[in-house]
Symmetry: C2
Subunit: 492 residues, 2 copies
Amino acid sequence: MTDLTFVSKQLTKPFTLLALASTIALSGCNATQNSVFYQEKSPSKQAPKVLSDMDKHLAQVTYNSQQSYLSYNIVKSLTVEVGPRIAGSTGDKKAVAWAEAKFAELGFDKIYKQPVRVRNWERGFADARVIAPFAQQLVVTALGGSIATPEGGLTAPVVMFDSLDSLSAAEPSTVDGKIVFLNTRMQRDKAGRFYGKVVPNRVRGAVEAAKKNALAVIIRSVGTDNSRFAHTGVMRYDDAVKKIPAGAISTADADTLEAMFEQPSEVILDIEMQAKDAGWQTSYNVIGEFTGSTRPDEVVLISGHLDSWDEGTGALDDGAGVGIVMAAAKHVKDAVGQPERTIRVVLYAAEEIGLIGAYEYVRANKDELSNIIVAAESDFGAGKIYRLDTRFAQAVRDTPKTLYSALSDMGVELGNNTTNGGPDVSMLPKYGVPVVALKQDGYYYFDYHHTPNDTLDKINKDDIRQNQTIWSLLTTYMAMSDFDPRPAPNVQ
Amino acid sequence: MTDLTFVSKQLTKPFTLLALASTIALSGCNATQNSVFYQEKSPSKQAPKVLSDMDKHLAQVTYNSQQSYLSYNIVKSLTVEVGPRIAGSTGDKKAVAWAEAKFAELGFDKIYKQPVRVRNWERGFADARVIAPFAQQLVVTALGGSIATPEGGLTAPVVMFDSLDSLSAAEPSTVDGKIVFLNTRMQRDKAGRFYGKVVPNRVRGAVEAAKKNALAVIIRSVGTDNSRFAHTGVMRYDDAVKKIPAGAISTADADTLEAMFEQPSEVILDIEMQAKDAGWQTSYNVIGEFTGSTRPDEVVLISGHLDSWDEGTGALDDGAGVGIVMAAAKHVKDAVGQPERTIRVVLYAAEEIGLIGAYEYVRANKDELSNIIVAAESDFGAGKIYRLDTRFAQAVRDTPKTLYSALSDMGVELGNNTTNGGPDVSMLPKYGVPVVALKQDGYYYFDYHHTPNDTLDKINKDDIRQNQTIWSLLTTYMAMSDFDPRPAPNVQ
């Protein structure tokens, strides 16, 4: 790229990447990778702006990305060729092989994997039906990690609570011997802020219910849809508390069950779930790199997670993240050639069952974490990015103005400096590793999250391309500059 | 109602029902049923309009309906207390008992039922999985009336067609021994106009495929959603053609299966369906009437169908119609007292499997069809009504200006005079029975139609109330006027 002369009278301040990219597109110039040449066509009274190398890199990668549906095509490949891939399953093993092959196909120069021991779990058959006051079949699914019901199921009266707090405050005798129904509604939100308020029902419901001698717990799905898809997701037991089966019913079925309580008579439920622990398996973090040309030991780590839940094809969670970061790295390589710093794409194992791959990554790379200039994860679907949050050393937080300006041109505002960067990189800042988060519009994300309905058709091709372009810009900037935001500050 | 003095300076032309109803509401007058009294509070230069009895009836029923969620509550009762009710099933028998009890609860003065012999069919377990080029589980459901696959399922290469016409035009050798995949997309439309174009895949796909010696047929669901719900619905065999199993896969799974064809290798599918004919059963048309006070032999017939498919709770199809017409009749009775003509609410049996109850109604009442002044059915969900189509004797088509004006005030335009009135009354015009259709916004109707996702939460309470009000207006007008649109004209 150093041989380019890239001048245009249009490119006066403010420098607009979108304008530049579209100028390239409209000019009909030979815009194949690594070869863009531009000349003024008419005299101008304004002095032309001579673009910096970084400006050219950012313009080129934007242009390339905007011609490309690579991220979408990667998700399509993963979801069609592999599909569901719960950690440790056959699908997961296929996904690992798929990832290695895909990195190779994309020309990554270093491809390797780290073994991660995971506890596999199988969902099996699940069935729930109201016996009284009115017979109704309910759509139910086991929560990830739940034990099975006794063979043949269990039948008991149901006690309904509007929140986990209400359950915790309840007189134990009102719960003893019953099935607990946690019926908390979740609101839609662009940033998904209500997930954190409702998800304790799923994670801790079984323990809290079992403390009061409940026989099982059924939650209203942690989701914002109104449909008959039940949302699974991980739940936890406490070794000090008896294990009881835990399931989720769809929001539509939760409405039906709730309506049963308008009758004077007892609500009786029959549940059967055949979920089971399937023993230890080996999964892998799969890693692809473009090795840095001049500073190979300085690492820009971008990531997603390879595992998914088992009922959908894991398109939004987290096929999208996988597609976005693989495509971004590839676009950077195509736009700038070998990057100065190493670009490391990490596809983490076993995120869904507790960030298992991410913790293993830290354990296995403890001595080299200080080499990571920045880390980030894409794991919130494929909605458009609207904000950049960072965790940069405060003294240099305002330094990368060129990056911020390029993102601003794409409609991405600068947010706070207290992010954790996403689930699988959230443990890195405490080791001093700077992180960033490119916040996505997640208004509809929890309609599909952890359901059979998390499939490719939920991804808008232009929205995921916007993600790809912005990740490409971020990665280009971080891999081609000497900006160094280490160490990440402590924040509470 | 004849003792009312109902005068208001606000009620000058154009007479607006909504304005009147809201005036009643705001005035704080005693607006209990059958007792509305109005007086001018200040002198006016305009001469007050003296409302006709019909104006008062229409205003009163509008006011009453707009305070009421009765139609919604009836659907809630049906879906929560009965739920799925495929013709001839246990659920269907419960629905018949529910309907009789609900008519009684609402004070209908004549309640009876007509036996309808129906062929019951049970869905049973269904499973479809792609074997090659990539293993994938597909969401599948049997089409209504389909035979089962051989025990253990069947495995065969798949041949894909974009339409039934393409299948019909295909060289038989390309279909012989294969599973046919009919992959036609359906467009959204307010009036559902694309249903008719796509539904032949479902109804005739098995026959057309079997003519070319296919082993089975799988259709892309006849639906406008992108989701993993498969849409069932009735299919037909031809006695002259071998019966083969027929199923539908969800639109998301159809996308996945379609993507498999981008590979060079053969697409192999394994299908198992355990659907079965469950023999003859007796179902019933359930009928409730408010007997006409002065002209009991003149019948205003409003209807919905009581049966549903078996996977959802039949909220939109056709719980909504049931709720709307039961509530409308009740609101008319509350607003006007005993109607002059008989209001007959017919809840037809077995619409879904071929209008069986409706044909039985015609057979059993053949000599009395000429007494029906008008017939109509609500069977397109609970979206807002935007148009009235009619099938009135042309000479009097413009006569009911008061009705048209009242509907116009509610945003309902007058449409054509060639309607068939809805599925279960569509065979009546040929006997001279006039029909009308209150056209509903069905933009989202085919997202849920015939899926497990047809549940109460899909009904907007205010939209179904708008339906209730408009059906109440229509029914009031037809039951309290001497307007007579008989006989229905022939139209092609």
